[in-house]
């Protein structure tokens, strides 16, 4: 039985114990003086004197005791031990159960029980032995803490149900963050018996590795010091052996961003540990299937070729595959490796056939793919001439080649006079293909109403690419579209420069008088793909004649996207309302002998796509997230902006409410696949990727390492014994002391009354 104080600072109040003595002494100092004759009657008997002395002493001691016990009670004393529980006088407690949610918890033993299964059993055993009024909250320690039972609750039945539905362990866990969260949960608890119980796999990784030790060190001062804080127990249920664990795992599945086409390349790595390599039972990927069918015969997916032993490098097998999606939209790609056959997984006791994988939580990786459909309206400054490529046709071919059925861009060329009408029409056969980007291809000038319509389009979030060529009317652009910086144009046109007839020097000595893009200046997000002077890159583009564009002043809303070798801007950008405008110093066609459309610049289609994609805002939303990163969806034109349903990896679907033009869901702590269903029943996939380091190291923490953590965060101990955790609970003593105060108060009143009555 040990004792402590939750609020030891209150002991300063013990000074108040001296108050009765001080009052007594003050009374003795402040007395009346009476010249008295009947002195002989003041001589009381020794018995009376002793009696009075004892009464006065008792009264003073009683008052001092009263103050002392009151102060002691306010210091919230507690006792540690099981005596009160044995006597049936124990208080209720508040307990926060923190379960490890890292991949290591999926480690199974021969009886097919994972550590998470054992952890849940342990927690249920604890619930069995707790008192009915005890409150429990349950957290799962992952990269971001997951609230399983977010508030302290005495509904043990519900807690059991939530434990049964615990999400599968994946990734790493951040124990210090989980302890901090648990402590915050208990901060408002009025009970002195507060426990944080950390149920984990006992691995070094995430508990006592160098990085986590530093985090423990940083956390320790934040936690309540001394006996004021909750008691902290660690329950390591994992293996104690440091032998390597047979394991196959997949690193995160990755892919490049979809660029113009619906075919994507994917890459991942298979890590093989704790065994000699033998090909896995199966390795496959699925598309647009979240749940694994329970019937193995129903498993669909494209099998990947099983890697050979020669592919193994340092226990790693690089894995790449590509897939062509049926069309634009959201897709989910799931990669699964199955090292052991289903029969072998069921019966791990088979002799002679070693188990390849004891950790099931890292055999699947998901990747969300969004192939946006980009409707682009190309406004040609020239009248169309059937059968001849000219003007905007080059850009249309670059963006949406007619033979490519998997194209993501829908592009249409319209003459200038149709601009206003075309803005309100779908460009492709599909719905939601109203123009998101307009390209003015060397348009001489716009009518006033066209300018107004275009301004409204950009202000509402549309993208505008303005290319200048021989037909651009300098005066009109500067006056009507730049408008002293208030218009759509990022900068003013200065003058055309260079000679379109200048030949390309072939002697290798004469400098080329024409302008070229300067890849070193490609710092803008729209051009990051082309950064660096790569062979065959945009640096090969040649502009014999080009418009001098004025460099924007400092503080101007415009910024340079890319420069020419002549040090003049090639492209500039300006944000207008919700939309963006990019102004280009050359026309993206064959005018002025520009070579953009020729084979010398194979990057031109990609450049056109990147610019269009940037202006359409297609790159703004992420679909592959890290835990805690908000999930965002921008509904299409025909979709409701008020309601959408999100199905998280665990738990019930969530109804999302639109905020402005967006749906935002911030609770993405749990790794896995989130699917959002729009009002038009379109499914958008989001994948919160777990940290693959969760599969790296299953070595248990050594005794010394455990002790180190114990010292740092003042752990009460490591144990697997439920009774030990419960027995060592703290017992609040303040209310016992308050009873004592009431008792002493009654005693004081009685004694005072007796003395007064006796006088």
């Amino acid at each position: 039985m040990a004792f402590g104080l939750t609020n030891a600072i209150m002991l300063i109040g013990l000074i108040a114990v001296a108050i009765p003595i001080i009052i007594h002494l003050l009374n003795r100092r402040r007395f009346d003086v009476v010249d008295w004759g009947a002195m002989q009657f003041l001589q009381v008997s020794e018995v009376t004197r002793r009696k009075v002395f004892i009464e006065e002493l008792l009264l003073m001691l009683l008052r001092m005791g009263l103050i002392a016990i009151l102060v002691l009670g306010m210091a919230l004393p507690f006792a540690v031990g099981s005596l009160f529980d044995r006597l049936g006088l124990g208080d209720n407690r508040d307990v926060v159960l923190v379960l490890d949610g890292s991949t290591g918890m999926s480690l199974t033993d021969d009886d097919n029980k994972s550590i998470q299964d054992k952890a849940v059993e342990w927690c249920k055993d604890l619930l069995d032995k707790m008192s009915p009024g005890d409150n429990v909250a349950v957290l799962q320690a992952r990269e971001q803490v997951v609230f399983v039972v977010p508030q302290l609750s005495s509904d043990h039945k519900r807690i059991r149900k939530e434990l049964d539905k615990l999400a599968a362990p994946r990734g790493v866990c951040d124990w210090p963050q989980a302890v901090e969260t648990a402590e915050a949960l208990l901060k408002n608890s009025g009970r002195s018996r507060r426990e944080i119980i950390l149920v984990g796999d006992g691995r070094k990784a995430g508990w006592s590795d160098e990085r986590t030790l530093r985090r423990w060190e940083l956390l320790a001062p934040q936690l309540p010091q001394g006996d004021a804080g909750p008691r902290l127990w660690a329950v390591p249920l994992g293996r104690t052996s440091s032998e390597p664990v047979p394991n196959w795992s997949l690193t995160s599945l990755r892919s490049g961003r979809a660029r113009a086409s619906t075919t994507l390349d994917f890459r991942s790595t298979v890590k093989v540990a704790g065994q000699k390599y033998e090909p896995p039972y199966s390795m496959r990927f699925r598309v647009d299937q979240i749940e694994e069918p329970t019937d193995t015969s129903q498993i669909k997916g494209s099998s990947l070729p099983l890697p050979s032993r020669d592919d193994l490098r340092d226990g790693r097998l690089p894995l790449t595959f590509s897939h062509t999606f049926e069309g634009p939209g959201a897709h989910l790609v799931t990669l699964i490796v199955e090292p052991d056959s289903p029969e072998r997984k069921k019966d791990k006791t088979q002799i002679g056939v070693p188990i390849k994988d004891r950790v099931a939580g890292d055999n699947r990786q998901d990747f969300a793919v969004m192939l946006p459909l980009l409707p682009v309206l190309l406004v040609d400054g020239l009248a169309p001439e059937p059968g001849k490529y000219r003007g905007a046709d080059f850009l249309q071919v670059a963006l949406a080649p007619a033979r490519d059925k998997s194209r993501l861009v829908r592009a249409r060329v319209v003459p200038l006079e149709e601009l206003t009408a075309a803005l309100s029409r779908d460009i492709g056969p599909e719905a939601n293909t109203k123009p998101r980007v307009v390209v003015l291809c060397d348009v001489p000038r716009l009518a006033d109403d066209q300018r107004e319509t275009l301004t409204q389009f950009v202000n509402a979030g549309g993208g505008l690419l303005v290319t200048h060529g021989p037909r651009s009317d300098l005066t009109w652009y500067n006056k009507e579209l730049y408008r002293g910086g208030l218009g759509l144009l990022p900068t003013i046109l200065d003058e055309p420069n260079g000679n379109e007839d200048d030949p390309y020097p072939t002697d290798g000595v004469t400098p080329d008088p024409a302008a070229h893009p300067l890849p070193a200046s490609f710092t803008h997000a729209a051009l990051d793909l082309f950064r660096g002077n790569l062979s065959g890159g945009l640096g090969n583009a040649r502009f014999p004649r080009w418009w001098k564009l004025a460099r924007p002043e400092i503080g101007s809303p415009s910024l340079v996207v890319a420069e020419l070798t002549t040090k003049y801007p090639w492209m500039l950008e300006k944000q207008v309302g919700k939309g963006r405008v990019i102004q280009c110093a050359v026309a993206m066609d064959d005018s002025w002998n520009t070579n953009l459309h020729r084979l010398e610049v194979p990057e031109f289609p990609l450049l056109a796509f990147e610019l269009v994609a940037y202006l359409a805002g297609a790159r703004g939303i992420e679909f592959n997230l890290t835990p805690g990163q908000p999930l965002i969806y921008q509904p299409l034109d025909d979709e409701s902006k008020e309601r959408a349903t999100l199905r998280p990896p665990q738990g019930e679907p969530v109804e999302l409410e639109g905020k402005g033009d967006l749906f935002v869901h911030k609770d993405t702590r749990l790794p896995g696949v989130y699917s959002l269903t729009t009002s038009r029943n379109r499914t958008i996939y989001y994948v919160v990727h777990p940290d693959p380091r969760g599969s790296d190291d299953f070595t248990p923490a050594t005794e010394a390492e455990r002790e180190q953590v114990k010292e740092l965060v003042k752990l009460d101990g490591y144990t697997q014994d439920v009774s030990q955790v419960l027995a060592a609970s703290r017992q609040d003593l303040w209310w016992w002391l308050m009873l004592g105060v009431i008792g002493l108060l009654c005693g004081e009143v009685w004694l005072t009354g007796r003395i007064v009555k006796g006088r």
């Binding site: 009374n27 003795r28 402040r30 007395f31 009346d32 003086v33 009476v34 010249d35 008295w36 004759g37 009947a38 002195m39 002989q40 009657f41 003041l42 009381v44 008997s45 009376t48 009075v52 009464e55 006065e56 003395i755 007064v756 006796g758 006088r759």
Partner: protein, 299 residues
Amino acid sequence: MPTASTIRFDPTSLARYGRLALVARGLVEGFLTGAHKSPYKGYSVEFAEHRQYYPGDEIRHIDWRAYGKTDRYYIKEYEEETNLRAHLLVDASGSMAYAGKQQSKFEYAQLVAASLAYLMLHQRDAVGLGTHDTQIRRLIPPKATSKHLLQVLTALEQTQPGGETDLAPIWHQLASQFSRRGMVIILSDCFDKVKPLLKALQHFRYQRHEVLLFHILAPEEIEFPFTKWTQFRNLENAGHKLLVDPSWLRKEYRKNFQEFCTELRESAGKAQVDYHLMRTDQSVDRALGIYLSRRHARR
């Protein structure tokens, strides 16, 4: 020289209680014919008894009427009426200086003594005065002249209380000095041991004096109303102080004091001393008036 007017008493206030007089209950030996019975029987106006005739008696005192009826000679005897010799003994010890919220006990005793002196001189009794603490300070023999009142009042005026109390020896000494029987009126708080006091009172009685004991007390001494811590400084001994919490002393004090008063009263009663308690919060004329009325009724 102080005059009687400096003592703040109003003799006329006593008139409210009727024609009062301090009348001796027993016999007093006076030197003038007065209102009190003399122990000497003679041939005065008030018949007392008959006695047998002896040769040598004056023939004119023979009751011839009785001779006619009995054929024997009887002499008629008459009681002699004489004036009273009263001694006012005023305790001037330190304890009498206690005042409380009212006048001091000594001042009160002064007024009572002055009133009685006036009263008795008015009825042609002889009044003397003795003041004392541990020793006799002033002793004025009884006289019945009208100028004597001024002398008594002046002596009272000039007396200041002080010094320790040791009443019994003084009273013994005075009892020895007062040879002629009369009245002894003691004005004191009697803060001394009861037994020696009783013996002294008995000594007065032995000398055949009628003794009136006016026990003068302040109400604070009776009730002990103090609540705060108090330092009691002995009026009779400057170095003697006692710091006490009166609340825990009260009960014991009251008990002691009550016992003292009861013992004194009972002892006085047994010694045929007329005991009368006077509180300084009562007006002198009222207290004295009530006492004299009661005494007159008992006569």
